[in-house]
């Protein structure tokens, strides 16, 4: 099936019959209605953007298309033929390849070996390296990577290169439909150029590309059509040329009422935390900000923006290379979490499972783990009754649903696990609390609960920095929103700013950025 340029020029794919057609896709997870009758049509030779806020249903939808999940209802048609997908291999067999955000590559094997792993080309039984290599070189050239990379160990590649290699790997399977899940999130501008060349090459060869992205500024450059998902429903599906960044942002957030806007007044005191010209090579540059006691400041940025790195630098886990941090007027050095904790800074990490919980240990163990000195006699002997009392107090105070403090954290729901990790930060009231994605993978009830706790803590006089890519959460919590883009603070909004404005600023609508001057 070939697509002529004229088909695309008018921005509609009506002339070409869709290669993939989804109709009435429904999916529920427990009580959550993730997809509500989603329909989608993708034509060959089309780059089709799928956008939506976190939780809008994008990832559920691509999981269903790639066979990783099965829809509760609805139909998937390829070339008009209904498909009974239920496994990734059958989807792959039908020509649907997916590139996820984390490259699934083997570090000790070369790029060429990775591409053909499990389906090696053989000659006399041995791997036919020559043929494999020439195929790989061809693919690498096609997507604009250095062909010499074919014989380099994947472990020696930069993360961005690995990302591009996994796209090349997907291409080597000669898919008819290629799903790219936020391929640009971790790429720099130069690498995005390479990516776009690769995507355009695919379009030329008639591959249908489903392109998921948060960077709305990219859409006009690379996509032909945009489908916007909101709360599990398609709210728009239009040619890209008919949509501006601003329009897409408005479609994504809808006209939902601002959920009970908190009205907080911050006393005009000198800042507790003042950061000047903070840098960490390759992660963030020249970050200056300040937070007052009782103030909630949000760092809002898309995945890979560097917002999380700023928080981790302030906690001393991944220290900054240069710049100054002053606490209540005194300059401090934050080289390790110990430094941070000594100055009253604590952090709720983003990845609960990896960085947060001790899954096979009790709630009491998890809460006390960061306060062993406090909960001890003379720093040596654990004061177990006090430990239990503290944990029990939190069980009721922040409503952790568990039979007792001896319950193992691994057996709790995500929301309750997150509350346990949050409780750990609250045992000694922090002067400054850093929160990274505080409600990721948490149910709605627990989310409200966590927001309430954070605001209470602010009312009690703690300074709070929230890093989040969840826009409603940011607007709900923050007294000020700082937008992080490409490792720099690019805009600032006061409480009550419009969702679409903030989103557009973070997603790269430069006009909006200019309108809002940095204070």
């Amino acid at each position: 099936m070939t697509v002529t340029d004229s088909d695309r020029a008018d921005g509609s794919s009506a002339t070409a019959p869709p290669i993939l057609r989804l109709t009435g896709i429904e999916k529920r997870y427990g009580g959550v209605h993730a997809l509500r009758g989603v329909g989608l049509e993708v034509a060959a030779g089309e780059v089709h953007a799928l956008v939506g806020e976190n939780g809008a249903g994008k990832s559920t939808l691509i999981k269903i298309v790639s066979g990783a999940e099965v829809a509760d209802a609805g139909a998937i048609e390829l070339d008009g033929v209904p498909q009974p997908f239920g496994s990734t291999t059958s989807a792959l067999g039908a020509g649907i390849a997916t590139v996820y955000q984390e490259p699934q590559l083997f570090g000790e094997l070369t790029v060429a070996e990775n591409m053909f792993l499990g389906r090696e080309l053989r000659r006399h039984g041995a791997v036919d390296r020559g043929t494999q290599r020439s195929r790989v070189v061809e693919l690498l050239e096609r997507i604009g990577l250095d062909p010499e990379l074919a014989d380099v160990r994947v472990a020696d590649l930069a993360v961005a290169e690995q990302q591009l290699v996994s796209i090349a790997k997907a291409l080597s399977q000669e898919p008819r439909i290629l799903i790219l899940d936020e391929p640009s999130a971790i790429l720099t501008d130069r690498e995005i150029g390479t990516l776009f060349r690769a995507v355009r090459a695919m379009r030329e060869s008639g591959v249908a590309v489903i392109y998921i992205s948060h960077r709305l500024d990219e859409l006009a450059q690379i996509t032909d059509r945009v489908t916007v998902l909101r709360d599990g429903e398609v709210v728009a599906s239009k040619p890209t040329t008919e949509l501006s960044v601003r329009a897409v942002a408005e479609l994504m957030v809808g006209h939902a009422l601002q959920s009970d806007v908190v009205d907080r007044s911050i006393p005009d005191t000198p800042p507790v935390l003042a950061v000047a010209h903070l840098c960490r090579g390759g992660r963030f540059t020249d970050v200056s900000l300040h937070v007052r006691a009782g103030e909630v400041v949000a760092l809002y940025g898309l995945v890979g923006s560097g917002a999380g790195n700023i928080a981790r630098a302030l906690y001393g886990v991944d220290p900054a290379d240069s710049g100054t941090v002053t606490l209540a007027g005194k300059p401090v050095a934050l080289h390790s979490p110990a430094d941070a904790v000594r100055h009253g800074i604590t952090m709720l990490p983003a990845n609960r499972k990896v960085q947060g919980v001790f899954g096979s240990k009790s709630i009491a163990f998890n809460i006390s783990s960061a306060h062993l000195r406090l909960l001890s006699r003379g720093g040596l002997w654990l004061d177990r009754s006090r430990e239990r009392r503290v944990a029990e107090e939190f069980l009721t105070r922040i409503a952790i649903k568990a039979p007792s403090v001896a319950t193992l954290v691994g057996n709790l729901s995500g929301g309750n696990q997150q509350k346990v990790v949050l409780a750990r930060q609250l045992v000694e009231r922090p002067r400054i609390l850093l929160l990274e994605e505080p409600t990721q993978g948490v149910d709605v009830g627990a989310k409200d609960e966590i927001h309430r706790i954070v605001l209470e803590l602010a009312d009690a006089g703690s300074a709070i920095v929230v890093v989040s890519s969840d826009l409603p959460e940011v607007l709900q919590l923050a007294d000020r929103v700082l937008v992080v883009r490409g490792g720099r603070l690019t805009a600032e909004f006061p409480r009550g700013a419009g969702q679409a404005d903030v989103l557009a600023a973070a997603a790269g609508d430069d006009q909006t950025v200019e309108e809002v001057s940095l204070s």
Partner: protein, 364 residues
């Protein structure tokens, strides 16, 4: 040996409430035995002791398997259990924690002990703490390699197993030290008769084993250090975010292992009335049985899980089972069947572990 991809397993105590309700008390008891390692080992221990006792009473054994015999058998328990506790500590510390060098530390620290007492005439009260300290120092070498320099524990302790063992052999030209003062050390491990009701048992049980078990239990369960140790073993990234000094905590685990090996060295020199340069490396060495007992006692290789009670009961089980087997066979056959029992116990308990974990996962 550390497969980094192995996720820290969910606890073996993960409840499966839906199934529990259906069965009665018996079912619950059975589940407890299968899931709770200490319960399983206790049941096994009772079964083994009762069985051999009955066999002995009915003349199937070459000697009576009675309380006197059981008490006397404890002398092999002491060094073995102390080293198994050392393995418990390093294995709990996570990241593939293991100490293959404990046997060589026993040899080297034991030779130092021999020199201090046998050649330099140091008083025992000074030489014993000095020996334990030397053990700790050797453990610190392992700790530095593993915690601060990032060597995989298996490699680091394999290397020091060779190096320490070699130094022990070289120290006295491959000859044991058994001068008069060293021989007199045997008094430390004589049998004690407290009263006619209590069978006489080796002195080192109360002078060394009980204090060591108590101290290790207290450190692991009642101190802040114990908490940190379990925390880094369970999830060392989370531990870092919880402001725990991961490297220092792991380093100290290896030092503790060395200290315990130093204690075992003292016991072994006293027991044999001689400081032998190959004390800790004869046969397959002392590390292997110690690791075996730790694993049998429910210590998880991936780290973060393991209890003193499990290790101590596993030690008792192995020692008393071995003692029974020894009476069941004529000649050296018994020692061969001990190997069989140890291997079979280890593999079957590991299979049981894997099975309960899998069930726990599918039920949860």
């Amino acid at each position: 040996m550390t497969t980094p991809t192995v996720a820290p397993p969910p606890t073996p105590r993960a409840p499966a409430p839906a199934r529990a309700g259906a069965r009665g008390g018996l079912g619950r008891l059975l589940r407890l035995i299968l899931v709770e390692r200490v319960a399983l080992l206790t049941v096994l221990l009772v079964v083994v002791v009762t069985w051999f006792w009955i066999l002995g009473d009915n003349g199937y054994l070459i000697a009576r398997y009675d309380s006197d015999y059981l008490a006397a058998a404890l002398d092999t328990l002491v060094p073995l259990s102390i080293l198994a506790l050392a393995e418990l500590i390093v294995m709990v510390s996570g990241r593939g924690g293991i100490d293959l060098s404990v046997g060589s530390i026993v040899s080297l620290a034991g030779m130092c002990f021999g020199f201090m007492v046998g050649h330099w005439g140091w008083p025992v009260a000074v030489a014993v703490p000095a020996t334990i300290l030397i053990g700790g120092l050797l453990g610190a070498v392992n700790g530095t390699l593993v915690a601060y320099l990032g060597f995989p524990a298996l490699i680091a302790t394999l290397a020091t197993f060779y190096a320490f063992g070699s130094l022990a052999l070289v120290s006295n030209q491959n000859a044991p030290i058994s001068t008069k003062p060293v021989q007199d050390l045997h008094a430390l491990t004589s049998a004690v008769d407290l009263s006619p009701q209590i069978p006489s048992f080796p002195l080192q049980v109360i002078t060394f084993l009980v204090p060591v078990v108590l101290v290790v239990w207290l450190v692991l369960n009642r101190t802040t250090y114990g908490r940190k140790l379990y925390a880094i073993g369970t999830n060392d990234v989370a531990a870092r975010f919880a402001n725990i000094n991961v490297r220092q905590t792991r380093f100290r685990a290896y030092v503790a292992s060395g200290l315990l090996a130093g204690v075992a060295a003292v016991v072994i020199v006293a027991q044999f009335a001689s400081a032998r340069p190959d004390a800790g490396s004869v046969g397959n060495g002392m590390a292997l049985p110690a690791i075996t007992i730790a694993v049998l006692g429910g210590v998880v290789v991936a780290g973060g899980i393991g209890r003193v009670a499990g290790v101590v009961i596993a030690g008792l089980l192995v020692v008393w089972l071995n003692a029974g087997i020894l009476l069941f066979f004529e000649g050296s056959d018994g020692s061969q069947f001990q190997l069989f029992a140890l291997g079979a116990l280890l593999v079957s308990s590991a299979l049981l572990n894997a099975w309960t974990l899998r069930r726990g996962r599918s039920a949860g």
